[in-house]
Structures are given as C-alpha cells and as structure tokens.
Amino acid sequence: MPSLDDYKGRTPAWCPGCGNFSILKTFKEAMVELGLAPHQFMLVSGIGQAGKFPHYLKCNTFNGLHGRSLPVATGFRLANNKMPVFVVSGDGDCYGEGGNHLMHGIRRNLNIKYFIHDNQIYGLTKGQGSPTTMEGMPTKNLPYGVLSNQLNPLSLAIALNCTFVARGFAGDQEQLKYLIKEAVNHEGFAIVDILQPCVSFNKVNTYEWYKQRVYHLDNTYNCQSRAEAFAKSLEWGDRIPTGILFKCRRPLFEEKIPFIQDTPLSSQPFDISKVGKTLQEFFV
C-alpha cells in the first residue's frame, strides 16, 4: 500500500497561505486512500501556479505547455488506456488558453480526470484577469477592469454533457478529498473545479469571501438530472454550491476502439512482417 511518504516531492514555490497547498495535501491523501502508488498513474499539467503541482509530489509527470495539458493527456490515455490519467490546470490554463481543448475533451469522454485550480485570476503572471474573474474586477492590465462576463465553467460542462461535474473548495479538504476520489472512481471524463484562494493577487475572492458563500449540496439534490444540474450550476453570488453537480454515464471514447481493449497500445508489439503484404496492394 502506498503511503504519504511515497508522495514526497520538491518544496513548493507557492506563496505562503496559497490555496494550492491544501489541494496538494488533499490530492496526496486521496491517492493514498485510493491505493494508487506514484508510478501507477499519469499526471499532466500546463503552465501556471497550478501547472507546477506535479513537481511537488511524486508521480509520472508531463508538465506541458500553457493551455495544452488536455491534448497531451488525450494522446497519453489513448496510448495507454490501462493507466489512470489526471490533469491539473489553472483557470487561465484550462478555460482561457485551453478552452477549445476542454470543449472537445468533454465531447470525447475519455477516462481522464481534470482538476482545475480556479483562483479566478492569473497567479503566475501576477494578477491579470482570467475567464473566471468576476466582471468589473479591476486589474492592472485592463484600464476599465474586466469587461467580459465571467465564464461559468460548470454550466459549460453540463451543457456539453460532461459525465462528471463537481465544485470543490480548497478550504474544505474533507469534501475535496471526497470529490477527488469520486472523480477518480467515476467512469468517464470528470471535471472538478476547485475554488482556490490566491492570497497575492485576488483580493476579492478570498478565503473569507468563499467561506461565507459555499454550501454543500445535500441529499435532496439530484445530480443525475441534467436540467436540475444546469439550473444549479447557474447559482453564483451570495451562495455557491459545492459537491457533485452532475453525473451521468456515456460510453468511453477508448471503449470504442476494439484493438486496445485487452492490451494498451503502448504494450503492443509492431509486426513488421505485415509490411510485405501491404506493399503488394500498390501493385494495383
């Protein structure tokens, strides 16, 4: 059984008090509780404070380009569909630079889990507005503040029939661990948007701000109903729901490719002896 010690990584270069610390701790605990050892899964990330996440634990890692983690994860998963594949990303990384990939990643429905550290700001580049920054928030680079409407990632995901859509909060580790584990155990593409206070650059959406607003979805909520989930996902402001907003089952992309069902592509040998026969096809 893996232990927390196995997950010891480099020392984080995050600001003291950053919401990322508790996500990191929770993620490690979730992996241990799931019985996953560092070499047994693949973690892909992009660029940003969240993108550095894999260096601060220990596991197979591809820390790729800003916004491009999902395509890398897609290629990896198709080449090795026996290995769990996770992605960590920031709100800019996932919803801004990588927005197109997110849309199509949801459509594909590979068995990939996407954890988004949503601090509603560009942290690493020091405080520019992100797609989830609230409209009107002043930023140094925009003379009139953020003029665009705030993106609602959960509504977007539900609209696209994403098979697992959840919201967590870095300040609620118990629930977050539950959500991470549920996402991992879910069969299909999963999104967990994690509200993550950025103590350095987001002076609006602080720990306090989130704490006053978040509430758990309880048993009376039916996460199987897409319409109900969509309505619930629109709730943002005085009250912000956390938990699993939507869950459904769609056939997995990788299940539709017959020849990778028994052996993943990465373990399939190349049979060069076939080439002669293929050459004959050119003798038209």
């Binding site: 070499h39 260096h55 994860a73 026996k82 990939h101 592509l265 003798f283």
Partner: protein
C-alpha cells in the same frame, strides 16, 4: 515511347476516375507511369486536370507537350490545344460540349451517345472515354475490362456488362475513327507498383511501427492521414482528428511519451499552429514525426497548389535553440524510406523530425518494380523492461551522447517526469544556471555530431566533371534528373539533389561544396521566390549561388519549361 495524356474538366466530372483507371491500366501493363494533378479548392465546377505520362523507360516528371487531351469541358480545348505535341489529338464529345471543332487534331467521340447505346446510361461516358484512349494508343483493352469487372463486382453482372460494353464501344470507335492516330505502344512487361507521394509517406509511417496519428485536415497534408486511417484497423493504429493543429501535435507528444511511435501531418498554415508544440517536443525530448505538405502561402494562399516555400519556416520555426531534422523526399520511394528514417532518428535522438513534401509530390504517382523492404529499419529504442529500470530512474539523465534512456511509464516501480520548463535530470523544474547550460548542451551539442553523421549527402547525377550543376531539393528531383538527361548532349551538366536537408550533411564522404565551386555555373532551382535552399547553403556552407531559377505561381515546372529556363540562363 513517351506519351502524355491530359484529362481536363470540371470538378465532379470524373477526371480523377478516368485518370486513375488509366494509370492502373498502364502500371499493370508494365509501363512506367508518372501522374500529377492540378485542382482547385472547390468540389464542383471550375477547371481541373489530371496528367499522365507513360513510357517504356522510367519517367520522373510532367511534360509540357501533350499527346492526347481528353477534353470534358471547353476550357480543356482552349487551354491545351496549344500544348499539343506534333501528332497530338484532342478527343471530346461535340454533343456534350455543344461545339464542333474541325482539324486533324480533333477526334469527336460521342462519349454520351455510346454510353447510352452500349451501357444504357450516360454515366458510363467516362468509361467510353477511357476505352477510347486505349484504342488510340493501341493498348490491349483486356486489362481495362478486368479492372471494370473487379470494380463493379459488387454491383452485379448487369452493371459489369454495361461498363465493359461502354469501354469496348469507346475503344472500337477510336480504332475505327482515329485515322490520324500514329501512336505506337511498346511491348508490355511485368506489372509495376503505382504509388503517390503522400500514400508513400503514410505507408512509410505504418511500416515504421506508427501507432498514433493525430491531425487536423489541411490540403495537401490530409491524404497522409487518409492512408494511415485505411491501415488503422489492420495494424492497430489509433488515428484521431484533433480539434486543431495545436491539439494534434500535443496529442502526438502525449502518445509518444506513453511509449508509442507518434506522428502528425499538416500544411504550412497548420504547422504554424504547431510550432510551440515543436518546441515542447524539443525540451521534453519527446520523439515525434511531423509531415508538412507545402502549398503556396502566405496565410491560406493557394490551398490546392504547390510550393517549396516553407523550408526556412520548418527550419527556424519555434522559440529556443534545439536540434531538429528535416527530410525532403524527392520521389515516392524516398517518401517511404525517409519517413522510415525520420522515425528512426526521432526515436534514436528523441527529437522532432520534419518531413517536407508539397502538393506536387503529394499527389504525384510513380511506378516502381517494388521497394526493397530489407532496407527498412526498426529498432525499439525505448526502455520497456522493468528489470532494467531502477527506482532512481531519471528521464533526463546527463549522458556522454546526450541521449537519456527513455523509459515507458507504468512498467515498473519508477516514475517518468518531464517538463516544458527547463528541468533537472529527474525532469523537475529548475532555474539553475549551470543546469540550464548542461541541459542545453545535452540536447544540442551532444546529440548534433551523431545526427549530422546520419544525414546522407545530396544525390549527384550526370557528367563527372560538370561545368554546369543544377541544384534542388524535395520534389524537384525528377525534373532535375530529366533535365540533365535532356541537356547532357549539349552541356557538361550534372545535378545535386538534397533530400536530407537539415542538418546539412557533412562533406567528408562527398564534398558537394567542391562540386559547386568547381563548376563554371551553379544554378539553384526552387519552387519559391527567394531561393531558400540557396540561402541555407550560403549560411551553412558559405556557398553563394550566383544563378537561381525560381517559380512561384503555384504550378510545378514541366520538363520543357525548366529546360527553357536553363537554356535561357545559359544563353
């Protein structure tokens, strides 16, 4: 015997079917064939042509002079009458075109009427035309009839008979009415294989153990994907249409990292979107093969035409400094074997390798006796045996030759870590100055000498001590070669052709720079406006061309055009 047939018409009229069928007939008859196509970026209408050259000797390029024009539209007559060879003939259907042409060079074949009379349906008009061409050339029709029987097997006896009768009707009509036809066809010989440039790249990839291909459609690169997709089930290759080219290359890198051979393909515009991914391949040392089928730019340019204007783009694209290899095959055979070499080098050195082709070569078909498959190389450079990989495995370990053993993740009790940031040996992010120097040197300086050694020198062909050397790269091969053949009686002429373009091969085994400096005249011939190979030779090897021939109208040279340009330059 060296005949050129040009089939012209609107998109959707079936010139492709006629052209393809004739190509197959000729290849099966054992003739050497070269075909090329010119089409517009539209599905219906406009004007396209399909040109075939057949001979009893090897042929490598298109000719200007046409022996038989099959005119399915009026434009074909207007445009190609002036291209007719001495005894050339235009066949057309005066009823369909609603115009009648007088003169010895015209043969009015009632394609539609014969189709209706013999096949019962005017859609067989193209079969009539195909039969008529064979009748004019005096080539045995049995092979065509065999092809028709195969093609329509599923559709039943009736359809087969209708097609066979239509073909016969066209054939007989030509035999009886083409009194001026003086075509003499050579003896047939052993059937040849017929292969187009992009199919050869796709086949080369498949034959190299390709397991993953992701791309976004873009002419003229798409047909590589189509070929690979046609073999996906048989060979177990995952083919995915990405949402854009950025995703395409990143997916390929993800798959490659997981331990499989991966490739993407596009044209210049799509490659423009991939360049950050190219840089990612470089710093993460993840092998990938990228095919770029060039078309004229800038931007959307001429989507279905040809150019060689992306050599320097392929070479200098992407930020940062890192090694890359550029292959520019000159023939379908080279498309096949250089794709194989591209995979081998990508895997061996853990670098991106680019295959540069263009619309002209992509869509050209050549005939061969066969490919020597013993020349294929397949070495699995990845570490897959978990017993050989310790728990302390370091993905980017510093080694003497710069190559760090690449373990496949998940086989054992180790982790494989890489980063688009500068990283240490383990693959973790670093900003350390010394490590930055070490990693840069590892990737570039340490690998480069061996990479250069692997690059084959340019091909030399022609006179031993040439006074005139014509130089080119990529799809120019066939034209240069036939130009040398045509001009060899007139001048002491030779050619140098680069298909392994970058890094420029060293001159140890073959001093091609000496060949250039010793010649009285060295002429660099390219399908671009600035002379990109000429630039590269100047920068890399200090050789400056004084004379260049550049064509940049989106159309390939014909042999006669090129010879005209060379003669004009030499005077």
């Amino acid at each position: 015997m060296d005949y050129t047939i040009k089939i012209g018409g609107e998109a959707g009229q079936g010139i492709q079917t006629i052209g393809d069928t004739l190509s197959v007939v000729f290849a099966r008859s054992g003739y050497h064939v070269f075909t090329n196509q010119d089409y517009e970026s539209r599905i219906r209408g406009g004007h396209n042509y399909y040109q075939l050259r057949l001979s009893d000797k090897p042929v490598h390029c298109a000719r200007e002079a046409v022996d038989i024009v099959v005119a399915l539209d009026k434009v074909s007559i207007m445009e190609y009458e002036k291209q007719l060879a001495q005894q050339g003939q235009i066949i057309y259907d005066s009823q369909s075109l609603k115009e009648k042409h007088e003169g010895n060079q015209f043969l009015d074949v009632p394609f539609v009427r014969l189709a209706v009379e013999h096949g019962g349906n005017k859609i067989m008009a193209n079969t009539v035309a195909t039969g008529a061409v064979l009748g004019m050339l005096g080539i045995d029709i049995e092979i065509l009839l065999g092809i028709l029987k195969d093609t329509f097997k599923k559709k039943g006896e009736e359809i087969i008979k209708a097609n066979v009768d239509s073909a016969m009707a066209g054939y007989d009509f030509a035999v009886n009415n083409c009194i001026k036809c003086s075509f003499v066809s050579a003896e047939t010989s052993k059937a040849k294989m017929l292969i187009a440039g992009n199919d050869a790249i796709g086949f080369g990839a498949v034959a190299s153990g390709l397991k993953f291909y992701s791309a976004y459609p873009m002419t003229p690169g798409t047909s590589i994907m189509l070929y690979v997709a046609s073999k996906a089930k048989d060979y177990g290759i995952v083919v995915e249409q990405a949402e854009d080219e950025i995703a395409a290359i990143n997916m390929a890198l993800g798959a490659s990292f997981a331990g499989v051979r991966a490739m993407t393909g596009t044209s210049g515009g799509g490659f423009a979107l991939m360049v950050e991914g190219l840089s990612l391949a470089a710093i993460t040392e993840t092998p990938v093969v990228i095919a770029i089928a060039q078309r004229p730019g800038p931007a959307t340019g001429l989507p279905t035409k040809t150019a060689q204007a992306d050599l320097l783009f392929a070479l200098y694209s992407a930020h940062g400094e890192f090694p890359r290899v550029i292959m520019a095959p000159g023939t379908p055979e080279e498309c096949f074997f250089l794709t194989n070499k591209a995979f081998d080098m990508a895997e061996k050195y853990q670098i991106p390798v680019i295959i540069l082709t263009d619309q002209y070569l992509a869509d050209s078909q050549w005939t061969y006796e066969g490919f020597d498959l013993n020349k294929l190389k397949y070495t699995d450079y990845r570490l897959r045996d978990k017993d050989l990989i310790g728990e302390d495995y370091k993905r980017h370990a510093l080694t003497d030759n710069g190559i760090s053993p690449f373990a496949v993740p998940g086989k054992g009790n180790y982790v494989v870590v890489t980063d688009s940031d500068e990283h240490d040996e383990e693959g973790h992010i670093t900003e350390d100055a010394q490590m930055t120097i070490l990693m840069t040197q590892k990737r570039l300086h340490k690998k480069m000498p061996a990479i250069i050694k692997d690059m084959a020198p340019p091909k030399f062909y022609g006179s031993d001590n040439p006074e005139i050397v014509i130089v080119g790269w990529g799809s120019m091969y066939g034209l240069l070669r036939e130009a040398v053949d045509m001009l060899t009686n007139k001048y002491k002429i030779a050619m140098l052709h680069f298909s392994e373009v970058y890094p420029m091969p060293d001159t140890e085994n073959f001093d091609y720079i000496k060949v250039l400096t010793e010649a009285k005249r060295a002429i660099c011939i390219e399908q671009n406006v600035t002379g990109q190979l000429a630039h590269l030779l100047a920068v890399e090897k200090g050789f400056r061309f004084k004379e260049k021939i550049n064509k940049y109208d989106g159309r390939p040279f014909t042999l006669e055009q090129l010879i005209g340009e060379i003669n004009a330059l030499i005077g």
